[in-house]
């Protein structure tokens, strides 16, 4: 299925283990939805990590017409777990699609509890579990499942699908991605949740096109080193 024809909910939330790739996916996801002509708001709810934030892509997002809601302290020296007040507006203005980038693990997902009732009441959301089998603490289905349950308990919002973002950074080969499919499948079976898509860096797309359903090609956030 192509991204454009996927059934997108009004609110899409990306949660998962620390360092699983949520922010990169959220930024790319927001840009792709915007390309399709929708009004898109991306909200950064990360209260755990002061680094690697949606703010790093602010110029690109703003230029594309994606509304970014992010703490003005993100990327600064102010290491504050702050959420801007206008995040609440996301649930009042339902004309815009909303993408929520949640902080890592259960600690990050706690921030979601505050909006839980609004999300459940509107009941038009997709809560995506981002997984990377090359991360040391989520290498198999069992460990990933326990991280998932911790996040659900903290967030109070149930997951609805899985995003397989298995990668080794710049060193990722098509074989790494193909080799991760059984892991995603195992997780899918254990949870009863479908794999919504498999995200890859754009350069791998030609090698994997047609081999994996629902491929999502991404541009990675700028790196200095």
């Amino acid at each position: 299925m192509r991204f454009e024809t996927m059934n997108h909910k009004r609110v899409t939330l990306f949660a998962g283990h620390y360092g699983s790739g949520k922010t990169n996916i959220a930024v790319n996801f927001a840009l792709r939805l915007r390309e399709g002509g929708s009004r898109v708001t991306l909200a950064d709810l990360d209260i755990v990590n002061p680094y690697f934030r949606t703010k790093d892509s602010e110029a690109e997002l703003t230029q594309a017409g994606v509304k970014l809601i992010v703490s003005r302290f993100a990327g600064s020296n102010v290491d504050l777990p702050a959420i801007p007040s206008d995040v609440a507006g996301i649930f009042d203005n339902r004309e815009s699609l909303a993408i929520l980038d949640i902080g890592g693990d259960d600690r990050g997902a706690l921030a979601l509890g505050r909006y839980r009732e609004r999300i459940l009441e509107e009941n038009d959301f997709e809560m995506l579990l981002v997984v990377n089998r090359f991360r040391p603490l989520t290498r198999d289905g069992k460990d990933t499942l326990s991280v998932m349950r911790e996040i659900e308990t903290a967030a109070g919002v149930p997951f609805t699908a899985i995003v397989n973002n298995s990668n080794l950074g710049e060193d990722t080969t098509p074989e790494h991605v193909l080799g991760s499919l059984s892991y995603a499948e195992e997780l899918s079976k254990a949870t009863g949740l479908p794999v919504k898509f498999t995200s890859i860096k754009r350069s791998l797309y030609p090698a994997l096109e047609g081999k994996i359903p629902n491929l999502f090609a991404m541009d990675l956030q700028h790196k200095i080193i």
Binding site: Y51, N77, N132, F134, L137, G169, I225
Partner: protein, 356 residues
Amino acid sequence: MTEPVLMKGNEAIAEAAILAGCRHYLGYPITPQTEIAAYMAKRMPKVDGVFLQAESEIAAINMVIGVASTGRRVMTSSSSPGVSLKSEGISYLAGCDLPALIVNVQRGGPGLGGIQPSQSDYFQALKGGSHGDYRNIVLAPASVQEMAALTVKGFDLADKYRMVAMILADGTLGQMMEPVSISEPEAASTEKPWALTGTDCKRAPNIVNSLYLEPDALERTNIERFKKYALVEENEVMYEEYLMDDAELCLVSFGITSRIAKNAIVAAREMGIKAGMIRPITLWPFPKTALLAAADQCRAFISVELNMGQMIEDVELAIRCKKPVFLCNRTGGMIPTPEDVLAKIKEVNKIGGAQA
């Protein structure tokens, strides 16, 4: 864990420590090294180890002294202001000849400073930092893989010489993710007959102590200890030479900045400037001999650092001021781009050696 995984530098330190046999982590959270504590909190209970978040950095370092006294592998980690708080304990470890691993994932200073990367604790790590005549072995990783490898190495060296080994990293190395392969190291079998393990009424009690009632006894101890330090300087220097065979300009850089310097050196060589680099992997012992030899070959040196110029003093000392040493730096949490370093190389190439 031989298959590569994608890890943050902080996580790689934590996992490598566990594989090296460390079962006691005592710390207190501070950005940008908190992932070490978070990872230990998850992993230590699974390997029957101890993760303990102390009430402060000072409490944590004193717990390290306690565990180290028993001969068990022990570590703590922090970032710049937190390491300042630990400094008294570091001197006590040195005075008691106790092995321990201390990690500093540096951030901008002085004071509370900021949370972005820096190398401005070089003086603190190498020039005392705490009171008394002592040295720490200081290791400077430049990749996530080296964060793991030097953690294992640090434990081994600490045990071998009964010294503190410090990993001097920075916020970028702590936070960045890279593929890393960590395998179980060969079991290091350092006997620790000095450790406080109980006498079983079969031997005289061991004593771990840094108080000497007679000044001449303290002097003798210090002089003996410095013989040990001389051995470390003789045997444990580690550095990497990069394109030094025909180099006329020698960059000196450690940690994350050495990677930026490498990019700049490649660009400089494309322009016909023969630049190379000596990258200290051990900051103490410092690669003095290699640098002094380079002084006969090169016209000038450039010290690339994330501070106002700290290692540059050791470069000047090592080369006995035979050639001019220039500084290429950013500070306060800022990082130079390869273009910044290249601009410095070009500038020094024009004037380099003229002032010698």
